[in-house]
Structures are given as C-alpha cells and as structure tokens.
Amino acid sequence: MHGSDAIGSPYAPHTDEERSKMLEAVGAETTEDLFDIPSAVQFDGEFGIDARSERETRRLVRSILGRNDTLTELLGRGHYGYYIPSLVDHLADRSEFLTSYTQYQPEVSQGFLQVLFEYQSLLVELTGLEIANCSMYDAATALGEAATLAERVRGTSGHRVLVPDILLEGRRSTLENYVAGTDLVVEEYPTAAGTVDLDALEETVDDDVVMLYAENPTVRGTIEEGLEAIGDLATAHEALYVLGSDPIALSLLQRPADVGADVVVGDASVLGLPTSYGMGLGLFATREDYLRQVPGRLVGASEDATDRRAYTLTLQTREQHIRRERATSNICTNQAWVALRTAIHAASLGPHGMVNLAKRGVTRAESLAQRLDDLVGVTAPIDDGRHLREFVAHVDQPAAPIASDLEKRGFAVHVVGDHQLQVCVSGVSDAKIDQFVAAFREVAR
C-alpha cells in the first residue's frame, strides 16, 4: 500500500508480502536483524519530525517561503536576476538531465557529456582561452581554485596573492580558506573610483607575487580600462593573471585572452539561474599550458568502437577519486545541471542576443544613473568611467534609511557606504525602473 496513508517512506515500493519473501531469501526474520550496530550507539529516541502528505509538505514550504516579501530587486554585486526563457526550465527539468549521476559510464551518458562539452566550448569562445572545465561551485570557490593552481604552477617561489580592495567579502573570505593550507598570503591592492589604481598596483607588485586578480566589470559595475596594463604587470613578474567576469560581460567586453589573462573565473549562472540566494556556477577557464593542473571535471571528444564521435570525462587522473591527496582539487559533485541551464540560456540568446543583452546592460545602467543624478540629493554614478548593469550612487541623506524606505515601497537596493547605494538594472523591466525612479525621488530628498 502506498500513498499518503502508508507508514514509512512513500518512495519505497515494498509490499508486506515482498518484504517477507526478501527477508526469507536473506535468512532474517526482521529488517532490524540486518543491522549490525552495537547497542551502545543505537539510537532509540525520536527526531520529532512529523511525516506529512505531499500536499501538506508543499503547503508548509509555501507558507514558510511566503514570509519572504515580494520585492523588485535592483540588486547585483555578483548575483543577478535576468529573465530566463521558459525553454530553459522545460528542457533542464527533463528527468534524464535532472536525475542522472556523474558520467562515469559515458556509453549511457552521451547526451549530458555533449551538453558539458558544448558548455566548455561556450566558455572557450567567451574567454579566448583553450580550456574550460565543466564547473566549479561558484565564483568565490573558482577564485580559490585559481590560487591553488597558481601555487602549483609557480611552485614555491612566491607567496603573495593580490586582490582588489573592493573584492566582495564572500570571495575574499573563501579565497582565504582555500589558501589556508598553503604558504600563500592574500593581500589587497588599492582601487580608485571603482577600478584598479594602476600606479598603486605597480608599486606593490614584485616577484613574490604568484597571482594577480582583477575583475571586469568590478563589483561596483565599472568597466576596467587598464586590463592590458594589469596583465603586463603580472607577466613582468611571472604572476598568474586571473580575471573575474561572467558570460554576459564577456560577450561584449575585452576578451580575456586578448589582455593576457591566464585564468578566467566568475559566475556563469548569470545566464540560466534566477536569483537563488547566491547559488551559482563557478566558471573556470585557463590556458592549454596548465591542462594537467586544471581543477574540476573536463569532457573531451573521443570515438566509440564504431569510430563515431563520442564524449567522455577525461584527464580524470587529476581528480580526487583517482589521485586522492595529490589531486588538483577536492571537488567531486559540482554544478553540472546549472551548467546545462547556462548552456541552454546562452543557446537561446545566440550571439546576437548575448551581445545585445550586454549592450543593454550598459545603456540601461547609464540611463538609470542619469535619471537618478537628475534627482535632488543624488549623484550617480559616483565612479568614473563606463558601467555595466550597476553603479554606485551618492545620496545626501544617510543611505540605510533610504534603502529601508525604498524597501517599504517594494524595491531592494544595496547599501555600500554611509551615503552610498548601489543599484542594478538586470532583469528589471522598464516599467519597474520608472516606478523605482519615482519612489527614489520621494525618499531621497
């Protein structure tokens, strides 16, 4: 008997009769007899978790999550809410994609392997680098892995990992944890007006630097203008030049390979995922030189016994299940299904759609900045240069109460300083932008 009346797991199919037959086959009287647990460590308490019907469970989760306010999020800073075509959900939710395991048996996993191969190809095109893995957890962990790669390829000759002073705290802290087991030290270099302060950077870079990290756009939405100069500095000191970006930015902005980047990291799920409380997809691409040192899974093309093209996980000797403590990373389960979503989203945009989405990210952000700048008590953007998606605004009034007032009117923005708010346009409709400007006018003066 199944369904909501059953006592036990609703997903275990055994009838009483079947259970009896199975017990008989194994020579046990009860399932309890099959457990070999010393009585001292047996648990005879209760968790105190009630079982619920499917309907009640759905109602419970809906009711809990219903406590989240419905807000228009003008939020970015590393996590974005672009519109996702319906196609993405419908295809990614096909259970063959959703419920399969890592492709250790490629003969029955060709479909997913091909998706991951295509995802890798997308990143190769976007970055201009020859190798992309088929996912890390998120931008922060990809950055951490880049540092351990830097340590491996540079050996023991240096210790310093340089990151911008405006780096997101989550990325900085994750990076610190990743290098905690090494001799590396994370240090900040200064930025000015939201982008790299080249002179200051030049002063601090020396041969002890094994990795130099920059982002484009920066966390403040500014487009970095000195990418090539930064790369030259890294090269001059044989430091690994690691660039942080994402697929939409990469569709329009300078190609990392063209400015000398050795590694590109970032969050690829700006395509494919809605805002998911920070859940992401770690992008990781690098030069062919580091092929045997890359962390994470790689899918390669091969042939099957009939000489037809086939795909397979490859270079697995880098990985933990084979190389154990000498693996290039401890990553096992990654974000493959998110990579699928990103690949489908990118494919449905196509190159024109991706470039246009990025262009609109520039024009819409700059247009909103202009409109806010026109308001009494607001200066926007406060950083020089060009912006993608988001920008920081100065407000004459204290920022936190303004953000709070905006929230009451249905809009969420970032507070990034006592008098600084950050605002992001991605995924926000023009009509909502109009309403936001009207609300801002009311609260900012």
Partner: protein, 468 residues
C-alpha cells in the same frame, strides 16, 4: 542516433565595434563573438534528443555504491521553483524571513538527524563540507594553541575526497589499513595516532557497508590524543533513526543531501554538504548562520549571525540554496517514520540483492551497500556489459581491498521485481567470457568509448575539433 554539436548546425559571428550601435568605445570591447544561432524549435529538439541519450534514475536501477542514487520526488522541484524561493542574498533579513526560517528549520532537522549541536548549510557539496570540517578542526586546534597538529588519519578504503580535502587543508595524510574483517585496525590506529593528529576521518558504515563496531573505542582513542573525529556522511542512508554520528562520538560531520535526502544529482551537481558539529566546535563554523531573533514577536523571527571564531566563508554567498529547499521538503515529507523506513529498506534491498547474485561478496554483515568481487573478470568490463542488459552497473574497482570490486548500493526505492531484474543482469554477465566483456557494450547507442585516446590528445571544445 548521433546528434550534431550546436556548432555543427550553425556558427554566426557578430562583429562588435565603433561602427555599429555599441555603447562602448571599441578599446573596451571584444572584436566579435562567434556562437551558434538557432531557433527555439531547433534548440528544443537538440536538448530533447540529448536527454534521450542519458540514463537517469527514472530509466531504471542505478546501484552505484556510495552514491545513493535514489528516486528524486517530483514535488521537491515544485517547491524549489516557487517564486518566493527566488531571492537575492543581499536582501535585508526583514524581507527574507521565509528563507531564514526555512534555513533555521533545516539546520534544526539536520542537527536532530545527526545528533549534532550546530549546523551550517553553506558548503555547496559534500567535498566542500569535508573542507569546512577540516578548516573547523584546524581553527579549533589553532584556537587551543595546538596549531602544530599537521596530520589527518584516513582509512585506505575511504572516499577520495577525504584525502584530497585533507591535502587542500594543508594536512599530511596518514593512511590507515583495514583489518582482516574490513574495518579499522585498532592497532594500526593506535600506531598512527599522536600528538600531531588533527583528526581521523571516518565513514560509517564504511565503503564495504560494514558498521565500525569499535566506534566507541575509536572515538576514545582519537579524543585521548586530542584529535577530532570526522564523520563522512556519504553512507548515512544506512543509519537513519538507528544510530547517530553524534552519539557515536563524532565531533563533526557532513551530510550529502543528494544521497541521503534524495535531491537530484543533476548529472554531477549541484549538491549541498551541510556540516554539523558538537557545541565545542560551533564557534568556528562558517559565517553567517541563522538563529531565532530575541524579542517577543508573536511569530518567531530569524536573523543571520557570525559565529564567534568563524572560519569565514567557503562559498561566495550561502551555498546551494535551491538544493536546500528540496532537502527540507524531503525531510518534512518523510518525517521520523519515513526516514527510518528508508534506511531499513535500503539495508534490506542490499542484503536481498547480494543474496541473489552469483558473484562473491567477501565482507559482511554489510548494510546499505555491499562490495562483490568480479573474481577473474575485469570489473570495469562487467560494468560495460551490464549496460547491455538495460541497467546501470555498480561502482567498480573500488574499494581496492576487494579484488575487481563491484560496489553495489540499490537504495530503498527499488522493488523486488527490479532487484530481480538487476540480479539477472549480474548473473548473465557472470557467465560470459572475456571476449564478450571486452567489447561490451554493444546494445547501447554509443559503443565502448576510447578513453585513453581522449586523454592522450585532449579535445575539449568544438574549437579543438575544427582543426581536424
């Protein structure tokens, strides 16, 4: 049937420069972007066909040992897809009480299930959970002025992630042999333990499916030298409601939600690897965690806080939130009775399946999984041949303690009829000769794939194929 690459269907180059409508000067932009440009119907067909070339849990049994491939209840997708679940992590606590409450409740559920005092949901996968455990152990020892501890002890039969994680954490790995019965060798453990021991990482039941009967003694030994005991949660599906890591003396553990709590594996991920600890270690957990706010609101409210001696973050935000929603829904659906029943039937299924196959199973009594030996046959070939019978094969060639290992975990979701079909596949292959095995599979869409040449001359993108 072969499905061409997207790039074989179309490649369209978009030029970017001052002359078009670019809003940026061309020294800030790339020159062009070349990608496939296909219509929605073409894409729908591409991905639909690709999906049809994948064996998923809805295709049949998936008895990968240590992977706990159980059925993923469909309704958990619905709750994760609720618009109210789609929130930005930088929103105010006030406006995300739903998210915080769900996380708080899930922390509580997991603590009860593992017998742990405090839980973090941040690690985005089991290996990341291990990393948190190792980092917490390091921080704890450091805090106690014992930063000299530089060794982590790991049984030989443990999951590869244990070794890799300890190394990533900067530890020297001390490998521990098994005793004759397949469990931790206490003498060897005694020899391995020292004042340099930071932790022992243990899976229980271990990868042979055997319960470490001496767990209480092991815990005492580790604690006696000042080490911590880490529980690898990969095999927790064997014990739900019958034994808890916390009660066995473990100090820190991770949960594999895609194993124990049925969240879909997604062809490789995302998972989530929450970590539970005893109260002594709670101050070192990653930031932020969720707690109930003080003050007497009619409805409880929740807030984020940083543990006092937090190790900081291991993920840019809060981990794989949508996976956590599914985890919560699964646990809330099953409750005490359902969880205990899942374990009971997982163990019953493993024992029944083992009783029906001709291959030898050298170590017992096993629980949710067993490791058979392919004997004279090559275990990897056995797996390939099993594909021809329409079932997914077990994990092979590991743990190495069993020659030509077939590590098999049917989980509780398989019916007797399915187990019989699976046993029939095992037994059919057991009777076959090497020639048949070496050329298998021959009934799958793709035949045996050459993995050696793939690694020798890697072609990792369609760009790499163009040159051919």
């Amino acid at each position: 049937q072969y499905e061409p690459l997207l790039a074989e269907k179309d490649l369209t180059r978009v030029e970017i420069g001052d002359d078009d409508d670019s809003p940026l000067p061309d020294d800030l932009t790339r020159d062009s972007l070349e990608l496939p440009e296909l219509s929605e119907p073409e894409l729908a067909r591409h991905y639909t066909r690709l999906s049809q070339m994948i064996y998923g849990i809805d295709s049949g049994p998936y008895p990968l040992g240590s992977c706990t491939m159980k059925y993923n209840p469909k309704f958990t997708e619905d709750v994760a897809a609720l618009p109210s679940a789609a929130v930005h992590p930088d929103r105010s606590e006030r406006s995300t009480q739903g998210t915080l409450e769900l996380m708080y409740r899930l922390q509580d559920y997991l603590g009860r299930i593992g017998g742990m005092d405090a839980v973090t949901l941040q690690p985005p996968a089991g290996a990341a959970g291990e990393f948190v455990g190792i980092r917490v152990a390091a921080a704890y020892h450091e805090h106690n002025g014992e930063g000299h501890r530089d060794e982590v002890i790991i049984p030989e039969s443990a999951h590869g992630t244990n070794f890799a994680t300890a190394a990533l954490g900067g530890y020297d790995v001390v490998s521990l042999p098994s005793d004759d019965e397949g469990r931790v060798d206490l003498e060897a453990l005694e020899a391995a333990l020292s004042e340099n021991t930071a932790a022992l990482m243990l899976t229980n039941p271990n990868t042979l499916g055997l319960f470490e009967r001496d767990i209480t003694e092991i815990a005492e030994m580790v604690h006696d030298v000042g080490g911590l005991l880490y529980y690898d949660g990969a095999n927790l599906n064997a014990l739900l409601g019958r034994a808890r890591p916390g009660d066995m003396g473990f100090d820190v553990m991770h949960y594999n939600v895609h194993k124990t709590f049925a969240t879909p594996h997604g062809g490789g991920g995302p998972g989530a690897g929450p970590v539970g600890v005893v109260s002594e270690l709670a101050p070192f957990l990653p930031s932020p965690r969720v707690r109930e706010s003080e003050g007497g609101a009619s409805e409880p409210t929740y807030e984020l806080f940083d543990p006092d001696h937090t190790i900081g973050k291991v993920h840019g935000f809060q981990g794989n939130w949508l996976v956590l929603v599914k985890t919560f829904a699964y646990i809330a659906r099953l409750g005490d009775a359902g969880l205990a029943d899942a374990s009971a039937k997982a163990v019953l299924n493993a024992n029944y399946l083992a009783s029906q196959i001709e291959y030898d199973v050298p170590y017992e009594p096993f629980h949710h999984e067993f490791v058979a030996s392919a004997g004279e046959q090559d275990a990897a070939d056995v797996a390939k041949r099993m594909l021809d019978f329409g079932v997914h094969p077990p994990t092979t060639k590991w743990p190495e303690i069993v020659p030509e290992a077939l590590m098999t975990e049917p989980t509780e979701v398989e019916s007797k009829a399915t187990l019989d079909r699976l046993a029939a596949a095992f037994n059919a292959v057991a009777d076959e000769d090497d020639d048949t095995l070496e050329t298998a599979p021959d009934r799958t869409t793709a035949r045996r794939i050459d993995q050696t040449s793939a690694a020798r001359s890697p072609r990792l993108s369609w760009h790499a194929l163009e040159d051919e």
